[in-house]
Subunit: 133 residues, 2 copies
């Protein structure tokens, strides 16, 4: 396998990471994801890592990269399903996943994304209003 | 990895198969899925196989099994994202995936499930009405 499937669900993209990411797989995922955000106009990216029982610094960095890339493509990233051991390891490795939100499961992650997108749209509307006045 | 994650999304369960299923993984998936259907009361199961470029008779049989198991647990199964080559192979192997519906992608699969569940609920309501009269 050299590609991780990206599923489109309305305004969001869902990625389920089930295998250890090696170099090429991670690069493919990054490029596929930004292309998919650009093509579909998705406003949120959900990354499910519930299948990962261990994580290393490479994996942590890739997740951080995806978050940063999505951010400059105007999409929020939420990591869901993190196992307790993975959270411990990430902090011990000094990886705080800046710019990436987390939620306990996919449903909560979707609710969080909807809330974030809703509030950013409100903000845009407010700004539009003020520019009109 | 010895477990494929099952994601709950409202009334539905979503499974993304990214790796070849070997014996133990397939058995775990079957048992996890029926337990999850029982625990959550899910009415539909979406199986995404867009990451599979090849399929063998074992894999085809497991997908059929999952469909049958879900059916007797009162949940519909929809397989989504099948690649053309996989469809050709399944038919050439004589596996017609009876009792399993298919859809082109997750969004269409969800719409199909919603339609199926909606129509079965209408039927139940009709039956309730007639028993009251």
């Amino acid at each position: 396998m050299d590609r991780i499937p990206i599923l489109r669900m309305g305004n969001f993209l869902l990625v389920t990471i089930q295998v250890d990411l090696y170099d090429r797989l991670a690069l493919n995922l990054e490029s596929d994801l930004v292309q998919m955000v650009s093509k579909t106009g998705a406003r949120g990216v959900l990354i499910d890592i519930s299948a990962l029982s261990i994580v290393d610094s490479f994996m942590g960095r890739i997740i951080g990269n995806i978050g940063s890339m999505s951010k400059i493509m105007d999409a929020e990233t939420v990591v869901v399903g993190m196992q307790p051991a993975v959270a411990i390891t990430l902090i011990e490795l000094g990886l705080e996943l800046k710019g990436v939100s987390t939620a306990l499961n996919v449903e909560k992650g979707m609710a969080l994304l909807q809330h974030k997108i809703g509030s950013s749209e409100d903000l845009e509307e407010d700004q539009d209003d003020s520019s009109v006045e």
